[in-house]
Symmetry: C2
Subunit: 246 residues, 2 copies
DNA sequence: CAGCTCATGTAAAGGTCGTTCACATGAGCT
DNA sequence: AGCTCATGTGAACGACCTTTACATGAGCTG
């Protein structure tokens, strides 16, 4: 009958010892499998080998567990974006695009976190810690935009950095949501989500007056480590950001 | 005891007469209130005044109801986008921006549909009719992008229309998801979602070489009804798409 | 109009969940 | 050794989803 359960109990004793962490891990796995909507408090408890009531000793309710995961997600998100930004090295534009790629990579590689953060319906502003984590992550993008805005070529009006940050965020989030996750990824596209976002950002930056005449997928060494003082938007780059127009 | 129920029954007889439609309407209202995740099959049945089992005569399960709503949503979405596009009148760029606004307006004014379409976790590719409706809606954007791509100023490489369409879609979806709905709308922004998206699209179009020297919110009559043959990207428009940089 | 049929609705029941409550256990401190 | 309190258990409640056997009556057939 309750053979497994008894054995589990024998293995770990009456007290689990690290149930909170075990529940978070279990939930993460379940969300990755079935989405935040399909994830079940009871399932997480089962997976941790405890009764259905045990989780209530560590989380007020199911939403609080979800909220905790979202918060953790934002923290990891921030650290990945920060690593990608690398304080603007080797040059601002390159680093900026790396942030965009990191955004997509996170959405792809951490579907459970991404789901909890953006698709689970968790009200971000209800939990101050969660809200703070969310803002910290966004601040990476904001800081990057700030630096980028400071580089606008002379003669070009300087865009508000906040606006740029919001624009970039919306592009990354839009691409990730629509094309880079779960079923949505199955839409047949003429290019990969990464390429799509990279082209989008490059075109956008060019619209702001930035010289963006690098090859998108080119692996050649950084041609100019010092981007400022490049030619102002006089002509059109040889190849569009979408590769050979053939 | 079951006073209300008996009375209801007396009013409408044993057979409802139009239960399927009533369920769809009830579900729409419930989703608008509590989101697709919180919406309940039983609740919809109650609201229609029938037993909890009755809906199963019209929908295989809860997911099929949700899927039907999503499909209906895509159909209305398509017609609103089509009306906004108006076949490119009075000029392509103006009409294009109107489509972007229509996207946001739909997300704002039809939260229930938008939720079912993009946030309910309904697998779009599982239902052929739903998939077709979704593609029809996207095709409006695609067609608009096609026309816009054909207008690229001479000397500018012509971007693939499909890519443009995907870019625009991702921007609109990103802005709508992040800033224009529910709790997300509470984030304090320096500008409205509409303005944010409009500026984003304008900058993007300028990045493609389009002349976009119109005032964003300006209501002045269309200066040039014939956009082609405008100056190639020689200079920078007087005021940025984000208004006075003051 | 009588009678039949079948789409449509009902009640009841089984299974799962979220959540609460009274009670059990045992780790750590005194 | 004994106490305490955080942590876990089992039972129970109500809500939901879904299936099943049965009830109703609208519309057709003769």
């Amino acid at each position: 009958m309750s053979w497994r359960k008894e054995q589990r109990r024998a293995e770990r004793g009456y007290h689990h010892g690290n149930l909170k962490e075990a529940l978070l891990q279990a939930a993460l796995g379940l969300i990755a499998e079935k989405g935040a909507a399909g994830f079940t408090f009871a399932d997480a408890a089962r997976m941790a080998g405890v009764s259905a009531a045990a989780p209530y000793r560590h989380f007020r309710d199911r939403d609080e567990l979800l909220s905790s995961i979202a918060q953790r997600g934002f923290e990891q998100f921030e650290s990945r974006l920060a690593a990608a930004w690398d304080d603007g090295r080797p040059d601002t534009v390159t680093a900026f695009e790396r942030v965009g790629k990191a955004y997509l990579a996170f959405a792809r590689e951490e579907p459970a976190f991404y789901n909890a953060m953006f698709e689970s319906g968790v009200p971000v502003d209800a939990n101050p810690a969660l809200q703070a984590a969310s803002e910290s992550a966004f601040n990476i993008i904001r800081a990057a935009a700030e630096r980028l805005a400071a580089l606008t070529p002379p003669g070009t009006p300087r865009p508000p950095a906040m606006m740029m940050a919001l624009h970039i965020w919306s592009m990354a989030h839009g691409v990730a949501s629509l094309f880079s996750r779960g079923d949505a990824a199955r839409r047949k596209l003429p290019m990969s989500p990464d390429e799509l976002l990279e082209a989008e950002v490059l075109i956008y930056l060019r619209g702001l007056g930035f010289p963006t005449d690098r090859r998108p997928a080119g692996k050649s060494a950084e041609p100019p480590p010092v981007p400022p003082e490049a030619s102002s938007g006089s002509g059109v780059p040889p190849g569009g950001p979408w590769g050979k127009p053939k």
